[in-house]
Amino acid sequence: TVRVGIIGPFSGPFALQGKNFQAGIEAYRALNGKSVGGNEVEIIYRDLPTANPQQARAIAQELVVKDKVQYLGGVYFTPDALAITPILTQANVPLVIFNAATSAIMEQSPLVVRTSFTLWQTVTPLGKAAIERGIRKVITVVSDYGPGVDAENAFKKAFPAAGGTVVESIRMPMQTNDFSPILQRVKDSGADAVFAFLPSGPPTLGFVKAYNDNGLKAAGIKFLASGDLTQESDLPALGDGALGLVTSYHYAVSHDSPENKIFVEAARKAIGNPAELSFPAIGAYDGMFVISKMIEATGGKQDAAKAVEAVKGLAWISPRGPVSIDPKTRHVTQTIYLREVAKDASGQYINKEIESFPGQTDPGLVK
């Protein structure tokens, strides 16, 4: 048997995302079987509720030394990934990242592969798309932490490059409960649109509410964001207030393709409550695919370098669309979609894809 250690937030404030990791993995195993090339694959889940590099290090070390895993996967937060990378070479174990989205992680170890996205990657196409929609002046509002800063920087590079101006940039503290003053300021700034990034979860609700309540929507100020803000599991709570929000992202649960139908059905079964399915599941699903390919290539033997080598350049049709592993950066190259929140035929809120930007690599690494 080959053991795979999965580290993710299975409890605590990000339990939903961890649950999606699990759903993605279980969906993969339900559809493709629990063994690869005659090697049974065993998954060991370990909980890491919040960003905590010390704990991440301890868990990773234990998985490697005690549980003898040949592969590490998962990891929701960047610092946790950074705490794990230093041990990979000596442990002879590859790390397949299902989420942690800072570009720089890939540079820390040659044994890291990533199947999720970076904010540079998802946000960059939004610059051009905004111009195409007649938007000239934008104010950016992001949560003040790593991913937020990445999103801001990506937009500030892409939008002017396409011919627009960023009139103002606001970074708001992570623990902001009342967004009314911030959106009032956005309104006062005179921009045509606001570009926003908030981590998925409870605060997005208040933000979108304040967007409506402070009359920005009525005043015709457009709302652009990275797809984190409208993850599918938050949409029912956001309700009608979210209709018409424009986001760019690598995956929508409603993506229309036969591969995705199969995936969504399996993943929904795995997660239990269909409303909880969201983007981390796809990173996990494709991550499992990559790990399977690695196991296949090494015949179940522990050889991290060979395993990583085997997936460089690997291309396949994922439920999110065509993807490949960039041989140079080991980060996933994929299509980024422009979406708008809408209601589908059955009255469910979805991210409706309206435009696609294929073959996006991570611009964050070629800065």
Binding site: A51, Q54, T78, L82, P147, V149
Partner: protein, 327 residues
Amino acid sequence: MSETRPLAASGRRWPRDVIGLAAIALAGGAGYVLFPDSLAFLTRIISIALLVLSLDLLIGYCGIATLGQSALYGAGAYAAGIAAVNGLTDPVALIAVGALAGGVAGLLMGAVLLRAHGLPQLVLSIAFVQLFHEMANKAASITGGSDGLYGIAPGPLFGLFAFDLYGKTAFFAGLGLLLLVFAALSFVVRSPFGMTCRGIKEDPLRIRAMGIGVRPTLIKMFALSGAVAGMGGALGAIATQVVGLDSVSFELSANALVMLVLGGFGSLYGALIGTVIFLGVEHEVSAINPFHWMTLVGVMLIAVVLFAPRGLYGVMTDAVARWRGRP
């Protein structure tokens, strides 16, 4: 909390101290033998234990309400981390840097916290740690912000033992540090200074009427506590090679408090026991059921309050006393 035994029972205490230290060393050794594959975890316990000990100095010995102790831990961690990134690689020097930074942060925190008592003081401590957190987040160019400070590569300990995957070096370095600190603190809490602090805890006005200045004494304790916490943080930074914002967070402070109360405050052993039990249980239970372990930890905390209100160390001493009392 009151133990009916006089505090500094006169007579010679050092045999007890030696036994205590030996017990800790033995427990450390047992940890090494029994869980050779979890050394990184054991090192984390030691690092946090230093934080909890430092918290005990303030809460258990001086009655200072604080939920901001991780500001001191984080100061040590970041100072050591930044020094390491900038080329200081000797682990012993890094620990010293951590202690120094923690001590300075402790002085600062003391200056702020001693302006109030009780609940308002608790709030000051929260505000203090939150400000530290914000600063670490804002100063991303030197601290790495929310992505964490990485690229810490400590050199070999004493130039001989390199830090490795198995975490052996880090573990033994940590254990040695813990023993040193523990020995020093056992001495300190029974010095006149320690006695004065206990007096302050109970009635500062009385201490003043005895002619002893309360503020200077407490500030001293803050610096000491900061140094201990800072060493814990530095140890964590060296062992993990990454420093995250979590090391200056309210959550870490609150967890440390829970561990301390769990073990029993006002006793150095209580601090250690609380840390080991809490982290150990959390680690084991969350490995068994990564999805719903929180409820079990919650139940454990409630059970401790109901059945061992003086903390686990209190239960142990009671049991020993009863056993001794039996003819």
